[in-house]
Amino acid sequence: MVEDAATLEHVERPAPNRPVGPWRAGWRRLRRDPWSLSALGAVTLIVLLGLFGGAIVSRLVGHNGTRQFAYAANSNLRPVGPLTRIAAPAQPPIDAYGILHAPPKGSPTTFLVFGADGPLGRDELIRVLDGVRASLEIGGGAMLVALLIGLPIGAAAGYFGGFVDAVATQLTETVMAFPLILFLLFANRYLTQDIRSVYWGSIVPQGVVGDIVLIGVFTSFYPMRLVRVHAAVLRHSEFIEAAHMVGASTWRILRRELLPHLIPVLLVWGAVAVGVNMLAEIGLSFLGIGVQPDTPTLGTLLSVQWGTVFNPKTYDSHSYTPWQTIFPMVTIVVTVFSLNRLAEGVRRAMEPRALR
């Protein structure tokens, strides 16, 4: 008899009857949607390219994004275009008058896939890859900062309600009615040099942390609002009341009952927010604040070419180098599009009955 019980335990239950959790069900739905799946693949690829692409390409071609090639620009300081092989001698022959002579015979050459970045003659491909990394750091970091500020305040305001909630809501509504970029501009005056000058090798370039703080603090209204609305609705639901009745503490209810319901919403928000923060970083670069022009981000790569809002550069056929703007532009559009499409896919997967 004992043997029978043991064998019974080994028998697999028939699959269709097994309950499927919301996450597994969501993943199954996401997997069935080819567009969402390819968006997920694209985002993964871009993140991997951003994180490791610069280092790998540097190792392959033997120079990094800061090395300046004397032969990458002609005498009019016009940089070479994409897919160009140039001479790269260790010591370019420059005479006492600063004139660059032809490269010595048999000097090593290098291949610039995206061309050179300007009169300084740096490898545009590595700069774009480094820029993607810096932009992703700003987008993701600012999203996390906004979440860290917005989640606790929003959850508390929505769950407890009351007078403070009403005042906070009115305040956020009023602030959000104004163009946020003007707040960013104004706050930038008071961003101390301590925050701005934080850096960690070439992994987190100088100025990135400043942008993260600036964008993160001022976009925290969005998760705050989102969490507040959901918490205010969920607070009256039956499972929260049940948790109250069995004597769960408020902290436990917030953490174990409320938070799991917020995660799908916050996932969707997070994916969109990373993209919008990357666009915000471009905006900061165009305003001439934030990361210094010499450090590559997708924003500075564009603003170096096009000038800032204060001092836009006019079109000049001699210095017209379209590849320097096309590559960052395509990168930013593809990145933000994939992030938005991924958010849409997650939303559809987690709320299958919502309108497509």
Binding site: T174, M176, A177, F178, P179, L180, I181, L182, L184, L185, F186, N188, R189, I215, F218, T219, Y222, L226, V268, W269, V272, A273, G275, V276, N277, L279, A280, I282, G283, F286, L287, I289, L302, W306, V309, F310, N311, P312, T314, Y315, M329, I332, V333, V336, F337, N340, R341, E344, L355, R356
Partner: protein, 362 residues
């Protein structure tokens, strides 16, 4: 009567917002300008210590010696009479005199920005309603997929990026792409970098021609949001009973969409417009920069974000007051239209507003 009371209450709230914003600007200004760099304002004091009289004159010019409540009350009182503010300057004999009204350059800037915003909004409505209707009435069709794809793609661009690309394209076709022409009367076109006059223009045709590309830029950026709104609204409404009734009567598809479905969708869009006024101003900053238009956004950036530790009080006040007025009046008009057009929404009740998940930053 009800409408009048509603308007009154909403105007009072708007006025309160305006007062709060003015107070905030005053507070920030006096917090910043505690110790102004005197040598920046008076010649010959870089090496030597400025004299007491010089310090006094500079502090007076910077509004620092005035009583703050009196200054605030005076400003609000003058504003109520339509005076947006006056600069102060030091004349040749070292006295503080009136430096002229800031209205001189602020109102032309406001005119340019409002032209961009209003024209752009009209273009958004003209494009998003038909596109959303096509998309929403045939969910899942190739037209729907195409429209949704491009709508999602365009929202991934930055306004300055889109503006400069369109400007290059316009240059290629010889379209006038820079500067602003006044709708009425004639104005000088100036090079925004050199300040030199490059020509004159004016009148409705020039106005529309010079603003066509800024409007297009504006519309393409906002199209995504509104097309999706209209699409969702149309897709929801199209299965309602009154639509089926209209179909049963034998109304054509165009009539069903135009008369029964789109007005409902239009109302939804209207509530969103009110919430997005701030975003529109932010977008306008970049559009003005891309097309070299001397607008309010440009002045806002230069006043609030310029280099250096100082802030110009009359300029900052004028900019903040005008932007607040655009936001407040925009919201008021939208709420009023919504409440009068949709009989189900009681006036005075907050219409269920929606705002995009993230945005307004750029």
């Amino acid at each position: 009567m009800r409408v009048a009371r509603y308007l009154l209450v909403r105007s009072a709230r708007g006025a309160l917002t305006l007062l709060v914003m003015i107070a905030v600007v005053f507070a920030l200004y006096f917090a910043i300008e505690k110790n102004p760099p005197i040598q920046n304002y008076v010649y010959g004091t870089l090496a030597t210590k400025p004299q007491a009289t010089q310090v006094h004159v500079v502090r007076k010019m910077l509004f620092l010696d005035d009583s703050k409540p009196v200054l605030f009350a005076h400003y609000v009182w003058r504003l109520a009479h339509g005076d947006i503010g006056h600069d102060r300057q030091i004349d040749s004999s070292g006295n503080v005199v009136d430096g002229g009204s800031v209205a001189f350059y602020v109102y032309p800037a406001l005119r340019a920005t409002l032209s961009i915003l209003v024209g752009g909004a009209v273009l958004v409505a003209l494009l998003s309603l038909p596109l959303g209707a096509i998309s929403g009435s045939r969910l899942g069709s190739w037209a729907d997929r195409l429209i949704s794809f491009f709508a999602l793609l365009l929202v991934c661009a930055h306004p300055m990026m889109l503006g400069l690309v369109l400007r290059s394209a316009g240059n290629g076709f010889g379209w006038p792409t820079t500067g602003y022409c006044p709708l009425l009367g004639h104005g000088a076109i100036r090079n925004i970098q050199t300040g030199l006059q490059t020509g004159t223009c004016g009148g409705p045709v020039d106005w529309a021609a010079h603003l066509a590309l800024p409007w297009l830029t504006f519309a393409l950026l906002f199209l995504a949001l509104y097309t999706r709104m209209v699409r969702a609204s149309v897709a929801e409404t199209i299965n309602e009973d009154f639509v089926r009734t209209a179909r049963a009567k034998g109304a054509s598809t165009a009539r069903v969409l135009g008369r029964h479905v789109l007005p409902t969708a239009g109302l939804r869009v209207l509530t969103m417009v009110g919430m997005e006024v701030g975003t529109a101003i932010a977008v306008s900053i970049y559009i003005e920069a891309a097309y070299g238009i001397d607008g309010l956004g440009r002045h806002a950036v230069q006043t609030l974000g310029g280099e250096g530790p100082t802030l110009n009080l009359p300029d900052s006040l004028a900019i903040v007051v005008l932007i607040t007025l655009i936001v407040v009046v925009g919201n008021l008009v939208v709420d009023f239209l919504y409440a009068t057009l949709d009989p189900r929404v009681g006036i005075g009740r907050d219409p269920g507003r929606t705002k995009s998940l993230v945005g307004g930053v750029f």
